[in-house]
């Protein structure tokens, strides 16, 4: 008895929903950023599940896994730039709480 494709898709939707909830609920920019990473990882799980369930000539479809490889690379670059922005934001304002960052309200 092995899990079906639907179970994998539902589990990845669950992880995506948790990440989305975290982005809405939390006020700390660093934790919001972690929740964004979780949403990216949920998308990766979907891609890997599809790659395994759609075999090409008896082997998994490696196109999906290569895309996950690129997603991980982009996520790493995104985290590096995002954290640099957070550090310079903290230097300018002494806070990383989204409630106190309201300059765009005018």
């Amino acid at each position: 008895m092995t899990p079906t494709l639907n179970e994998y898709l539902f589990i990845s939707g669950l992880l995506f929903a948790i990440g989305l909830g975290g982005v809405i609920i939390r006020r700390n920019i660093i934790v919001i950023f972690m929740c964004l990473e979780m949403m990216l990882a949920a998308a990766s799980l979907t891609l890997v599940a599809f790659s395994r369930f759609n075999t090409v000539d008896g082997l998994p479809d490696y196109d999906g896994q290569v895309v996950v490889f690129f997603i991980i690379t982009v996520a790493a670059a995104e985290v590096a730039v995002g954290l640099a922005i957070i550090v310079s934001l903290y230097r300018a304002r002494q806070t990383i709480n989204t409630d106190e960052l309201t300059s765009l309200k005018g």
Partner: protein, 212 residues
Amino acid sequence: MMPSPLFYLLAALMFTGGLMVVFMRNPVSSALSMVLSFIGLAGLFVGLNAYFIGILQILIYAGAIMVLFIFIIMLLDLKKEDEHPRRGAAMAAGIIIPVVLLIQLAGVLATEQDSPKVPELMLQEQAAEYDKETIIHKRLADNRLPDVHLTGRKIFTEFNFPLQIIAVLLLVATVGCVALSKKQTKTVVKKLPAQRIPTIASAPDLTSKKND
């Protein structure tokens, strides 16, 4: 392919880790729960015969990115998040919107009556497709899945151009990080004298170095 109980165990690990990221007050606990969540996710990847992606997930997310997060939390010296009086609205929105999303997803998945079962891999039949000298051929003939070799073959043949674009992206990100985290230049300092003066007064070490 892994059996169902193991799948549910890893999924539960991932799920609890994710919930702990959202509901822990201390950012350091959030970061460590995220490692837990990603270890569960890497287990799921390994269960899907994607060994390379699973290892990459642990190395990059749990190894590199989380250390970066914890490092920044340490640098910024954050206090625990205070209780906010109008937390209720955000809390309600943050629970209702994901639940609506999940209900929609479950509705879509329920329309598929017999969800596809996992197809068997045919390793030995595929061995003839590759040259006799290659590791891919030897492993496939051995009835083992040469996951890393097949992924690498794909990346360096079909996805060669995207790979180079990604390399440029990494370079740009590196340059961007250095530019962002550099100290403010003199021109900016001149524009904001009022902000600069108290910083110097509160950090005597900096001023003594400036005099040198």
